[in-house]
Structures are given as C-alpha cells and as structure tokens.
C-alpha cells in the first residue's frame, strides 16, 4: 500500500490506543471498508510487535554497587558543604572587618584634620573666619574651616535697623576667597546716620568737610547731595573727618556702617557703630584685616545690644583691649588747607584708599 502520512499517523495511534472513542470508531469503519488500509494497519502492527517482542535485558549485577561506589567516591572527593551557620559566621566576620576598616579610616581622617589644624601654616590662620548668627553652635575642633565668610540678606534701605548682624557662612565653591579679590576690590563703606536735627547735622558735616579741605579737591569728595556725601581719600584724611564727626556723634539717633565684603550684594553691617570703630577699621593695612576687624566689631556691638546689663561690653571696654582701643589718627596741625591736602595726596596709594559714603537720614 502506498504510504499516506495522515492515515499512517491515525493507524499508529489506533495501534497504540491513543485515539478518542470517535476516532477509534472511525478508524474501525475505515479498516472494515478499505482493504488497503487494513493491510497497512497489519504492516504497522507487525512492526510494533517485532520491536516490542525484543526480550528485555537485565542490568549487570554490579551496576547498583558500582553506582553506590561512584557516589561514595565523589562524596569523599567533594569539598564538604558549608553549613548555614558557617556561612553566616563568615559573613558576620566580613562585615566586622569592613566596619573596623571604615572606623580606622575615619579615625585617621579626624587625627589628620586635628594635626593639620595644629601644624597648618599661619597663612591659613589669617583667613577671615566665619562670623555666624549668635544662635549658631560653635564648630568642633578639627572640623573643616570654611573658606570665606560672606554677609547675606542685608537690605540697605531697611527702615528699622536690625540689632543682629546677619552673617552666614557659605560653601567655598560658590564664593571666591576674600584674599583673591582683595587687590581688585575697593574698600567701600557706607555710613547711615539718623538724626532728628537734620539741618544742624548737615551744617556741621559740611563744615567738617570744608575744614578738612575735602571740598577743594574733586578727587576726595566726588558727590555731595542733600544728605549724601561720598569720599574717596586716604586713611589719614578720613581719620581727620571722623575725628571731627565724633564731636557730634551723640546727636545721631542711630549709626550703621555697611562694609562691602567684595562679594556683590554682600556687606557686613555694624549697628551702633562709633567714629572710633570706623577709625579702627580703616587703620588696618590690608583689605582682609579691615574685614576681620569689621566683623569683630559687628559681633561685639551685637552682643552689646543683646546682653542684659551690657556687662561684657563694659568689661571689655574697661580692659582697653586691642579691639576697642582704637588709636586716633593724629590730627595734623593745619597751617592751611592746601598743606593738608598736599600731604594727604602724597601718601595716597590705591591699596590704602578708603571709600566712604555718608547718608544723613531724617528721622
């Protein structure tokens, strides 16, 4: 009979008893009515019988023993399996080692920081330190020292003066060091004086300006409006002017000094400033020193305002410490205004020039 794969598959399933009842009946009908299909069925059946008639062979007697021996041999050769407890113990030990190493590294880092703080070159010490709000906790020894101090959130035109100098430390990456900008930045100050007797104060200041020869040179007084005076002069000339102003300082209801830090928009505010304190600031040789003194004074004045009884300020003042013992600039004996100007002009150089703007505010 010619092979028909579909019929053969059906017949093989018939032989193997893998047909459903319906298929089985259908194949039986085919076999009955088609001799060729019946003959093919017999051929396939004989094929199956031949294979299935092959006698079964028993496994060699030694097979089971050989399997056991092989298993035992492999078990002996295998490294012993680690128990769960051993694995956990090893893990715990590893964690302890890692933590110990981390603790050692941390300790070494702290020690290195302490040693560096002790042995650091003086130049590092001279960096302006951070003056923070008084409520801020002090830094621990060995903690990283901020690179720069800047003043934040001081509104120049704020009507009511704040007693606290709001000074905040920022991260170093956003702020250039003061020392780096020292040479390129002028030392600018703005003095805001509030007074009830405005005409008298203005008249006195105008007179002081005139007496010290500032009116005669545009280089010194470059702006004089109603209640606004802007100076750019030497420390000595500025000292003379402040010396005169000190005489009428009591007539000011408030005196606030804004010192530009070199960072745009940032200033140090010294509330309740005195002429002596301004003189102390401008007497310092470098920009950094002036800024340092300005910050110190800002803090001290702030403490003076905040502490009840003002005992600390009084005691400091009584001690005549360096900070508050402000050397008065020696006022030269003037034979004429021209002579004073000439002497002052000879001594002026850019690094020691002081820029001061005085604002007289009517209360």
């Amino acid at each position: 009979m010619k092979e028909n794969p579909n019929i053969d598959e059906l017949l093989n399933s018939f032989i193997d008893g893998e047909l459903s009842q319906r298929q089985f009946t259908e194949v039986q009908r085919l076999i009955t009515h088609d001799e060729q299909i019946a003959q093919r069925l017999r051929e396939l059946q004989k094929c199956k019988i031949l294979v299935s008639s092959l006698p079964g062979v028993e496994a060699p007697a030694w097979l089971a023993d050989e399997i056991k021996t092989t298993l035992e041999r492999r078990t002996l050769l295998e490294p012993p399996k680690r128990h769960y407890e051993e694995i956990q113990g090893a893990r715990h030990l590893l964690i302890r080692k890692v933590l110990s190493a981390a603790a050692m590294i941390g300790l070494i880092t702290v020690l290195a920081a302490v040693i560096y703080t002790i042995l650091a070159p003086e130049g590092v010490e001279d960096k302006p330190f951070a003056v923070e709000n008084l409520e801020r906790p002090r830094r621990e020894i060995g903690a990283a020292e901020p690179e720069v101090s800047v003043v934040k959130d001081i509104e120049i035109e704020r009507p009511q003066p704040s007693m606290a100098a709001v000074v905040e430390t920022k991260d170093s990456e956003n702020v250039a060091p003061v020392a780096a900008v020292e040479k390129s930045v002028r030392f600018n100050m703005r003095l805001e004086l509030e007074s009830g007797g405005l005409p008298a104060v203005r008249a006195f200041i105008s007179k002081a300006i005139g007496d010290n020869g500032l009116l005669e040179r545009e280089a010194y007084l470059y702006q004089m409006d109603e209640g606004r005076y802007a100076f750019s002069c030497s420390r000595e000339v500025m000292g003379l002017l402040l010396d005169d102003l000190e005489n009428v300082w009591d007539r000011f209801d408030s005196a606030r000094l804004f010192v530009e830090t070199g960072q745009e928009g940032n200033e140090v505010l010294i509330d309740g400033v005195t002429a002596e304190q301004i003189g102390e600031i401008i007497n310092k040789e470098s920009f950094a020193k002036r800024m340092e003194v300005a910050r110190d004074i800002a803090v001290l004045n702030n403490m003076h305002k905040l502490l009840p009884g003002k005992e600390i300020f009084a005691s400091i003042e009584a001690d005549k410490s360096d900070l508050l013992s402000i050397p008065k600039p020696v006022k030269p004996v003037l034979t004429s205004g021209n002579g004073a100007i000439q002497r002052a002009r000879e001594e002026i150089d850019d690094s020691q020039k002081v820029h001061l703007t005085i604002l007289i505010i009517d209360r």
Binding site: E18, C47, L50, A59, I67
Partner: protein, 201 residues
C-alpha cells in the same frame, strides 16, 4: 538488594528519604529502575558496555541532583529524561553507531534469520511475540534495523514499544510536542518496516 527492591514504596517517599541522605532509599530507587533504564539505553545505543556506563552515569547524576528535583513531573519522567538525553548525546558523539552497511549486517546473521523475518513481514504470517523473542537471529536483525533509524525516531519507538510509555509521557521525557511524538513514531515505524524488508531480502 533484591529484598529491599521488593518493598513497595512510592517514588515520592523514596525521593524524600534520598534527599535526607537515606542510603537505603537511594539503593531502592536504583534497584527499582536500573533494569528499565539499562534496557532502554541499550536499545537506543546498542552496546552493552556503553549502556551500563550510561546507566551508571544516569543514576549518579540523578542522585547527586536529587535536591534540584522540583516534582513538577514525576520522578519516573525525570529519571528517563536524564537517561535518554545522556544516551542521545552519546549517540551523537559516537562514531561506532550506524557505520556498518545493511549488507554486511545481513551476512552476519545468516539466511535463517532473514527468512524468518521475511515470513513474519509477509501478509499471511502469524505474529507470535513469544516465538520472535526466542529467535535470537531474528532479534539481532530487529536490533540492527532499529540502529539504522534516526536517533530521535529510535528513541520514540523504544520508549513507546519497549518501555511502554504513552504519547504524553514520551513528550514530557523528550520535551517535545505531542504532535512531534506522533510524527516521529509514524516515520520511525515506516522507516523500520522498509529497513527490515530490505534486510530480509
């Protein structure tokens, strides 16, 4: 060993005991299946020594990996899957299989065997399995004919006609579709018939 094999314990219990390191359970599993495994492997690879070695390798692999047996299929299916896969891999590697010509094989087994086979294959002959099994020459011719089949077709025929698995079990052991089992079995039997007719001439 024979005594322990006679104790009727189901596979699941034996496997669980074997996992717990019970050597007696391991021995029982081996004894229970060693003849069937050996027989199937021998019919596929046609070499007694290789069949013994493959059987041993099968049981060692099964026992060593019994912890990985997840029970998704029966232990019987898992065991035969490992055995057949090992044997088919061996057949691929072996250069000893399928190299002899039918003519030389026919010459080896003499005219008596060929005549018996020819009579059996003729349409009007009787098909007494007992008579076939006792005819050593005929059995050798059948084995040789089986060896001329494709390995995959031979495996399906052996699992069906010697081990007596149904189609679904064969599909699970060989990890193939049921339709593939049917088609391989169909082609295998047709080819086997032709090979035996050729041998009997």
């Amino acid at each position: 060993m024979t005594e322990t094999a006679n104790i009727n314990i189901d596979d699941t219990t034996l496997v669980e005991q074997c996992r717990q390191g019970d050597s007696e359970a391991t021995e029982r599993l081996i004894v229970k299946y060693q003849n069937r495994i050996y027989n199937v492997i021998l019919k596929i690879c046609a070499n007694a020594d290789d069949a013994a070695e493959l059987s041993q390798e099968t049981f060692v692999k099964v026992i060593e990996n019994i912890d990985k047996f997840e029970g998704r299929s029966s232990f019987y299916t898992w065991l035969f899957r490992i055995a057949v896969n090992l044997t088919l891999s061996y057949c691929k590697r072996s250069v000893k299989l399928g190299l002899k010509s039918l003519d030389s094989e026919a010459d080896e087994h003499g005219r008596q065997g060929r005549r018996t086979l020819k009579e059996f294959l003729s349409d009007d002959s009787s098909s007494d399995p007992a008579a076939i099994a006792t005819n050593k020459e005929l059995c050798e011719l059948i084995k040789k004919a089986l060896m001329k089949l494709d390995d995959k077709q031979r495996a399906v025929i052996v699992l069906r006609d010697i081990e007596g698995m149904d189609y679904a079990q064969i599909a699970r052991v060989l990890d193939i579709e049921l339709g593939t089992v049917k088609s391989r079995l169909n082609r295998g039997r047709s080819n086997l018939r032709e090979i035996m007719e050729a041998i009997s001439q």
